[in-house]
Symmetry: C2
Subunit: 752 residues, 2 copies
């Protein structure tokens, strides 16, 4: 604990907040930290963990109960057939989850249906990229599915490769023209193309997967006037050890040449027909043509097919760093074909359609016996593009086992202090739809009652434990990881995790804040509920890839997990153990074990980062009150420090109502950062302090509103600049106000 | 209590909500109301009132403590000098209030400053309406202040008559043209003028005060292209017993001919430079020219001056019902002068200016000893246009005495269970600014922690007790009124109140929902906190006027209250007694004593009213799912009925955390009706169920979004109609969702 002089802090607070409501922290105004305090701190540390610590044997019981055979059987059943959202098999799995919750002895387990606009390919009329020669003869047709490479790779209901929510379309290049290679399709890539004098307007572009969300790639191309997009997986990214059969699936988790990454390209979250409100049965819906969906066709292909196209392209040579891993080609930028193909044309035909389908969430409840109206939530999505062995089924396998473990504890006499809410989400792959609609439907209840939301998506994508979280949850995950046995050779998960980060010169494991990408998004970015996302990932010390290469392809199979990623299921076991212990910690600790001091600390770090590269001066020039934001943050830090200190010194005669009042204070703290109207131009992203950045949905950002507003500001004309500067002033002012609000929430320590 | 078959209700609920979160009310699913329940109900009724009932002697003590001499002295001091917002005298009074709170023994009493854009006349250059004859000679100049009629009517710092926030301007009519008489300046009045073929565009209009908020009058005129507005008080409204000196002030509270009603014409709430966010010291502010303020000059005059103008007007005769009480004139519509004045012109010169002034709220706190983080708030504004004897000073006199009474109780050993927050608002008269900015600053804390807000503005405007409130507070005010001695001849206030309503054929006193007009607005319409506004009003069985006629004039003096409105100060005493008992009831009752069942009941009534006059069919034609709103409301009614029943049957072993959980459920109920983005076109009005209507800010409306959207729909062209219909569909859907959310909040009774 950071020691502070109470006198100094209190004086600063009195100066800053003296005129606001309440008596400030006057109660503590004359205190300094004494040895008696230290005694109280010890006493308090006991109280914080309370029942959780007293029942330490239960932690061991949880660890013992999580069973690898169960996890393997769960995964096998979950991945037995494709289960795209809204299909009969996905419904079957929803009922399976419900049944397992009820078998475990949950108080309730309900199917929660929503009718949603989902996108599908035409299974009778596959999407195609074709090349025609000068005679109009089709000389190449892209594949829409993977080649079966081992016994279980095929299925009559196999999901064709397609880009979710990209429209049906039929676009062709002009004679002699093919595609423009746009590297990863990032803003800087398109900017570079402009520098090269290559204009994508009116052309079909081809982008490799990686670095940013595929939806951003399509959006960037569309904004710049492209008429179609082809996406491909490049061996440099997905077959880093070589493309030979023994180096790829089914022999490794690297991707063979016919593997095609599916995935959504919709930039919003939730049902596209109900942006910002829930898709309840009778809710008003936009017409399909009013929905903010991609306007140009898009289709993913494998690198074998990409090579057939790219090898024929002429134009300027791509810069070296744009050149991927397809051998024997030069990665020319196009759009012209090489002279020998000067009569060729390229055609992109997609037959995707939009229809309303019913999809289910499954919500299972174990009621708390002391504070049943306080929720500790855990969730994982169920739907999948391909087989979904690991995304998301390793997470679902974990969820079912975690549920079973809690059921067993209940049979042995345990009940959580707070209510546990288990969520199996539908239609995540399309746009985090199941979770978003449910949060939109119950936003007031969830904001009022939620202690935290724990997300798993892919549990086992590799051997390295990883967690991203609200700073409030940072210490707790470190603590839990010390209780869990290692999934490889380490004595504990913490040891393995720390060893990984030690290679990266970190003294403790890193817990970053959340970017976009899975079902925690509506809980965190829309509601301000502290969230954590956990998974085991690829060893980035060895490979530059965020998940196994068969992600979202037809090779994402049970076979791959069982043979290549988690033989023995110790990784998924680790995932279930962490989840179970974590849930129990937050469900049972008398005082919610948030790590309060990380909140201002992380904010200060984010602000520092934001101020780098000349931005500090730039922001000061735009708004002379910018330094007040930093001052407010300093005040917030002081108040949190005092509060956290007091939390550790409170008397042991704490009555239950005071305990509840303190928990209420800290539960609402992160919600103070919610702007009801959302970030500038992003009504569904309301968390003004930690959220994804607008121009790369997958990455996280501190104070994303500012960085979004500063983005590309040098490209604006003088009128646009004036408007933008005004938005920046208003937004910095808003940020200052919410930091002051958060400060005010903690200003008095249980109000005495 | 309405008895219901639990089986039927539960079945209906299970059907409607079976798939939502939680185990529904399964706990009660097999119960019917038995005689044992009845026993529990008796037990519970004891518990609901709890300490409050146990300490019944304290109620009597409160009644005894409220002292008329104190109230008279308070009022005398408060009205000794003019105290326009932001003037030195208003600051002095803020310090006086602070001092009184501290003297009473409050835990804190803080001055909370805001820097605000306020409008003032030029005290060296008065606003004028003049008439010139054909030679350019000024033949008439309007007065900008009242004639002193008794010793204390004058003061060197007297506030000139002006219309707050109306701009400086200098507009003249064309030769031979004067003003157009627009009756009360309502939409229907302007519509009628169109029917008469009178076009106000380019003209100066004259409107009489009354019926609607003066800001609406100016806005209507401005929308229709008028270039200036003169407002006057008509004897028909303000001198209903005659204009002779013995019939008006200082001999009665009716208005003499030189009385001029001041008041704001700004249509928004809060500082015009910070719409939607707080005016904290460092907050971003609009430029003055960006603020949404009236664009045409406006000036109020007395009926003596109005007569001078109106008697010269020609044009068509006004319809009979437009003719007011000025004798000897015909109320012609204009704009032409009568032939004998055909060379005349009329000129309106205003010299108002906008500047930033500092104004203070005073916030005093008595901390609760059980739930200090639950707030029971009471507020009253301090600033005034004229002397402000009754608006607001009778309310402030009450606030100070109520504070003293609670201070005395504390000296006698009492402490409230919950925290009492006393608020003395600044700059209410300009746009409810002090309260609005404070609520905007602390919105999250207030929504999280407030049990209710009690407002008084003018305590004593007449002898008839009146309350407008959230339906949740309805029963409590009836109950309290039975404890308070009558202020005239009745044994209790309730008797007097009921007698008044009996004349109007009501079996119980009427408690309407809130319209706009005082500082409860941000608490209720922005936050959804249950609010009540109390005052003693003019006897409407005798006079068709809402407050004494000298409202906002220079005759609103201590003298008037002392001699004409409340000699003996029994009315203000009644006000303080009601406020004190009401605050204590909500601060001390273990379970918050909301009357839950009034909420759905009032909503159903509002919906029924909305459906009248063919609107039901109209809405059904626009949106076939309109009936779902009604169905949802029926479900809500059933769930509230069951919940309220259960609340009366709970066991007496209720633990403090469960008690708190139940209170949390009902505290958040009305907040479920808040739409974060506000009503269509009204971002600062977020209460979708009960709020003021857009076209008459003073009146209240159920589901105001629908009535606002339906308003004048027949005047839209087909494109506009399509857009409007879409807004209606979306809004009805939103309403259905929030009713379902509110239902969900109560679905489980303390979650067991």
């Amino acid at each position: 604990m950071k020691m502070v002089s109470q006198h100094v802090v209190v004086a600063a607070l009195a100066a800053a907040f003296g005129l606001l409501i309440g008596g400030l922290i006057g109660h503590f105004g004359t205190q300094t930290i004494t040895s008696q305090d230290q005694e109280k701190i010890s006493m308090m540390e006991k109280l914080v963990a309370d029942k959780w610590v007293q029942e330490e044997h239960l932690n061991q019981r949880i660890i013992d109960l999580v069973n690898t055979d169960n996890l393997r059987n769960n995964l096998k059943e979950l991945t037995r057939k494709p289960h795209l959202a809204g299909t009969p098999r996905d419904d079957e799995l929803a009922r399976l989850v419900q049944e397992r919750f009820l078998q475990a002895g949950f108080d309730t387990a309900d199917l929660v249906p929503y009718n949603l606009l989902l996108s599908r390919p035409d299974f009778n009329n596959p999407n195609l990229v074709t090349l025609q020669d000068g005679t109009g003869t089709i000389v190449f047709t892209s594949a829409y599915s993977e080649k079966p490479l081992q016994a279980d790779d095929d299925d009559p209901n196999f999901v064709h490769a397609f880009s979710g929510y990209a429209p049906a379309g039929d676009v062709s290049s002009a004679k002699g023209m093919g595609v423009i290679y746009v590297n990863y399709g990032r803003v800087e890539d398109f900017d570079k193309l402009e520098e090269f004098g290559v204009n994508v307007s009116g052309s079909i572009v081809i982008a490799r997967y990686g670095k940013i969300f595929r939806g951003n790639k399509l959006a960037h191309a569309q904004e710049r006037g492209a008429k179609g997009v082809i996406l491909f997986s490049d061996p440099e990214d997905v077959a880093q050890e070589g493309v030979e059969p023994q180096k790829v699936y089914p022999n490794t988790w690297w991707l063979p040449g016919s593997g095609i990454q599916r995935g959504t390209t919709f930039m919003g979250d939730g049902d596209p027909l109900t942006p910002g409100w829930p898709s309840t049965e009778h809710a008003y819906r936009l017409k399909v043509e009013e929905a903010d969906l991609p306007k140009i066709p898009c289709q993913p292909i494998g690198y074998d097919d990409a090579k057939v196209i790219l090898e024929k392209m002429g134009g300027k040579a791509a810069p070296d760093e744009w050149k991927g891993g397809i051998t024997g080609i030069n990665y020319n930028l196009g759009p012209d074909f090489l002279p020998q193909y000067s009569e060729y044309t390229l055609r992109l035909q997609t037959h995707n359609s939009l229809n309303v389908y019913r999809s289910y969430n499954v919500i299972g409840i174990i009621k708390g016996n002391v504070e049943p109206d306080r929720y500790v939530l855990v969730g994982n999505h169920r739907d999948s593009w391909g087989y979904g062995a690991s995304d998301p089924s390793s997470g679902t396998a974990q969820l079912l086992e975690t549920a079973r473990v809690f059921g067993q504890l209940m049979k042995e006499g345990w009940r959580p202090r707070r209510t546990l809410v288990f969520c199996s989400w539908g239609a995540e792959e399309y746009a985090l739809i199941g979770s978003t609609e449910w949060v939109e439907e119950h936003v007031d209840k969830l904001q009022e009652r939620s202690v935290m939301y724990l997300n798993t998506d892919t549990c086992a994508s590799g051997p390295i434990f990883n967690a991203r979280a609200s700073p409030l949850l940072r210490d707790s995950i470190l603590k839990i990881s010390k209780l869990v046995p290692g999934v490889r050779d380490g004595p504990t998960l913490y040891d393995e995790w720390a060893a990984y980060h030690a290679v990266r010169n970190k003294t403790t494991p890193e817990v970053k804040t959340l970017g976009s990408g899975s079902d925690y998004v509506p809980f965190s970015f829309y509601c301000g509920i502290p969230c954590m996302d956990i998974w085991f990932r690829v060893d980035k010390n060895k490979h530059d890839i965020s998940t196994y290469a068969s992600y979202h392809t037809g090779y994402e199979t049970f076979y791959m997990i069982d043979k290549n990623v988690d033989p023995g299921f110790r990784i998924i076991q680790g995932c279930s153990r962490v989840a179970s212990l974590f849930l129990k910690y937050f469900a049972d600790s008398a005082i919610i074990p948030y790590s309060l001091e990380h909140l201002p600390r992380t904010m200060k770090k984010a602000l520092k980062k934001l101020k780098a590269n000349g931005n500090a001066q730039k922001l000061l020039n735009i708004y002379d009150k910018f330094p007040i934001l930093e001052e407010s943050l300093d005040n917030f830090t002081d108040v949190v420090t005092v509060f956290a200190h007091n939390l550790k010194t409170i008397q042991d005669d704490l009555n239950p109502v005071t305990l509840r009042a303190i928990n209420d204070q800290i539960m609402k703290l992160e919600q103070a950062f919610i702007l009801p109207e959302g970030l500038p131009g992003r009504p569904d992203v309301r968390h003004a302090v930690f959220a994804s950045s607008q121009f790369d949905s997958y990455s996280s950002s501190g104070f994303p509103g500012i960085s979004d507003l500063l983005y590309n500001m040098d490209k604006l004309d003088s009128t646009e600049t004036k408007i933008r500067e005004k938005e920046i002033r208003r937004h910095i002012s808003d940020l200052t106000i919410i930091v002051q609000r958060a400060t005010s929430l903690l200003k008095e320590f249980h109000f005495i």
